[in-house]
Symmetry: C2
Subunit: 162 residues, 2 copies
Amino acid sequence: MSASPPDRESALASDSKLELKMWLRLLTCTTLIEREVRRRLRQRFDTTIARFDLLSQLDRAPRGLTMGELSSRLMVTNGNVTGLTDALVEEGLVSRSTEPADRRSLRIKLTAAGKRFFDSMTPVHEQWVDALMSGLTRAEMAHLLELLGKLKQSLAAAGATR
Amino acid sequence: MSASPPDRESALASDSKLELKMWLRLLTCTTLIEREVRRRLRQRFDTTIARFDLLSQLDRAPRGLTMGELSSRLMVTNGNVTGLTDALVEEGLVSRSTEPADRRSLRIKLTAAGKRFFDSMTPVHEQWVDALMSGLTRAEMAHLLELLGKLKQSLAAAGATR
DNA sequence: GTAATTTACTTTAGGCCTAAACTATTTCCC
DNA sequence: GGGAAATAGTTTAGGCCTAAAGTAAATTAC
């Protein structure tokens, strides 16, 4: 057992509130995964997590999504989606077409190149995530998933989903 | 049971990999908590999560911390800490003094005003976090904390802490 | 039918964060 | 001692993200 580098939890009094500890540990895990996935996406595919996530949502929606649908699924603001979409259109991975029925709306879809690019990333990406979590048994993972589900419900109940 | 808004997990095939699901749910929980805490810190204290976290680390280290110690505890780059510290010095909440023993190093400490400000925020902040997680029992929370600990270890073992 | 409101999206200003290149100081090693 | 390497921190360019204000189209209310 080697000493772990200091992180957010360092020096937090051991009798301190469970909730706070949980929040810090949750944030640490998320940060570590994000950092590693970001590094690899950049090195291997010269792209970013935000763009990968956007492509991923489009891949699950063959008929495309509007800007608003994208922003709610990605849990980011409309303005953010505008910028990401601009970049992906520029890269030729995504198309933006106006909706005849409602001229305020835009329909965003994967282009053929976008689909090919995403398909090339997704199995590799999945392997990365699998490897990062390989220290947990299937049972532990299922349990963790369930507890996170409860946390998610708790957050919704506490009004964090406005 | 009301319909929840679509989020990252939407339309993810139900037989898809546990690891990926876990990662998405973890990210969702983190995002929801961050969003809520950010909103409240801004509204009530006119500050940000990053600044609160930096003050929090200094509060736990009465003798101060160097820039490098701050960046490893906050798990962000040196450059990022430089900018945050600049802002907090500007606000009078933090002091930056050179270390006589090693003139490359800086020692960052809470000022009296910084300590007062942090002390005024921390109980409120703790209440917010408690409320957000109030849907979980103590036992569930302890269990979740433990499983996240295992995940953290798994991430370290997989080399995510470089 | 038209004025007011709502909805979908964009723009702007600004904070967070990174990676890479840079400066200054210290340590290592001969 | 002196040059090479390591360490502590800063700077720069650029991507992510938000909140708030703005534009244009659709809907509601009268």
